[in-house]
Amino acid sequence: MVPVEETEVRRTVEAVWRMEAGRVVAGIAAIVRDVGQAEELAQDALVAALESWPRDGVPANPGAWLTTVGKRRAVDAVRRRQTGERVLAQLGRDLDERVTVDFDAAVEERIEDDLLRLIFVACHPVLTPIARAALTLRLVGGLTTAEIARAFLTTESTVGQRITRAKAALAEARVPFEVPGAAERAERLGSVLEVVYLIFNEGYAATAGDDWMRPTLVQEALRLVRQLQGLMPDEPEVHGLAALLEIQASRVHARTGPAGEPILLNDQDRTRWDQLLIRRGLAALDRARTDHPGPYAVQAEIAACHARARTPEETDWARIAALYAELARLVPSPVVELNRAVAVAQADGPAAGLEVARALADEPALATYHLLPSVLGDLLARLGRHDEARREFERAAALAGNARERTLLLSRAAECGSKKS
């Protein structure tokens, strides 16, 4: 049997690893300039910790210990790669200096720069969004392949292959280990934020499977966006995304019933909204303010309108409708227009909303989107047109991918069926 002491040290090693993986990998990648190799070397450092900490005790600064050991291995790896080249004697000395000054407070800033580089590389647009998400959770978040697979409801081998291919693609495209320059910055930042939002949504509004939410992904996305706020304090859209996620996450405990069934915004018990997250969201929104807010900041403003209303009746729907119009200008999309229809219906009545929603009927992008018939059904029901409403709810149920959502829609259809138009 493993003694208690050793089990505890092992748990500490694993916890420290999860907390520090991103910084350790980033510090090594800054030396070897290849995230795939950096991850392998970081794993070596983890193995070294598992060997020596139970024997020598947990170091006072375990994160720095892992980074330093990882960097030493990186220097060795670079030396091995370049044996025989005379220039390298000097390079080796430079690298040694980098490693030995590691505990200096001044170096802290460079580790943060390295972490930011790692995030930009892991979220590089040469990769598909889902590959970026897996790679980011692995390299920056320190999750195991098994944990990522569980969170995305897929197999470990699928995630493993996805990550291996992603690393190969980055190497093949010769993606430099750098934060993008001004010319590329906006697009690359968009790519990073898209990944965080994808991870969040995959957890918050599960697109497949029987569960409405997958908390691991929600938590990982929040952690990432909070880290990004620290790394890029001058980017308003980072705070915009943070505000959006904090406010949406504040409703996590209110949006499912006792049997796990979804509860829509207007029916939620608002005393269950997490006021701590709402305050954090509103504070992030303050930092997101700029003359030209981006799409995340505008969506956060909309979320904030709901968060500020203590009852559904207090909701400022006119402002929400105006914000959706602004969002539609920034990112024209039939889905945004559908949301605007809902807001217009709340502000000016179901007939006005129906007019906006009806205009989307022939939109090919919405042909298989269950929320269009779902919204139409709701507006028609409020206008007392129950037969038409029932047909729309049934159509919506047939299109819904989420089992719990389908049940909700069918029950609304049945409700309409029992009423006379």
Binding site: M19, M213, R223, R226, L231, H253, L276
Partner: protein
């Protein structure tokens, strides 16, 4: 998962509730580290109990109200932090890093790591 870390100090120790500028700087750096790691949600430090404190106790239907300082209490809560982390091991590691701040000054400190109640199902 959310944890609350409270730390308790001995009010009778002269330096406990009267931190040096160096200590305040160290504490600031620690808070920044936890914030940048994306785990620090909220937290505050507390004044000593001789400064505007009071205590209300209800026992067997009888309510007693007293004013501070709480001279009979040796370990007094001096601050709290709400952290959002993946598990208890991570919370414990943050607690350990926090106690490191006090080691240099040789001040007595006790950190309690407690799980915050969350509604089931999410």
């Amino acid at each position: 998962m959310r944890y609350m870390l409270t730390h308790k100090l001995d009010e009778n120790e002269p330096r406990a509730f009267d931190p040096s500028p160096e200590f305040i700087e160290k504490m600031g750096a620690f808070m920044e580290e936890a914030t940048k790691a994306g785990v620090f949600l909220a937290g505050e430090g507390l004044e000593k109990s001789s400064k505007e404190s009071g205590r209300i106790t209800a026992d067997k239907g009888r309510v007693t109200v007293t004013d501070g300082p709480f001279t009979e209490t040796k370990e007094l809560i001096a601050g709290f932090a709400i952290l959002e982390v993946r598990d208890k091991d991570e919370a414990m590691e943050w607690g350990r890093r926090f106690t490191n701040l006090f080691i240099e000054d040789g001040v007595y400190v006790e950190v309690d790591v407690r799980r915050v109640f969350e509604f089931p199902g999410a």
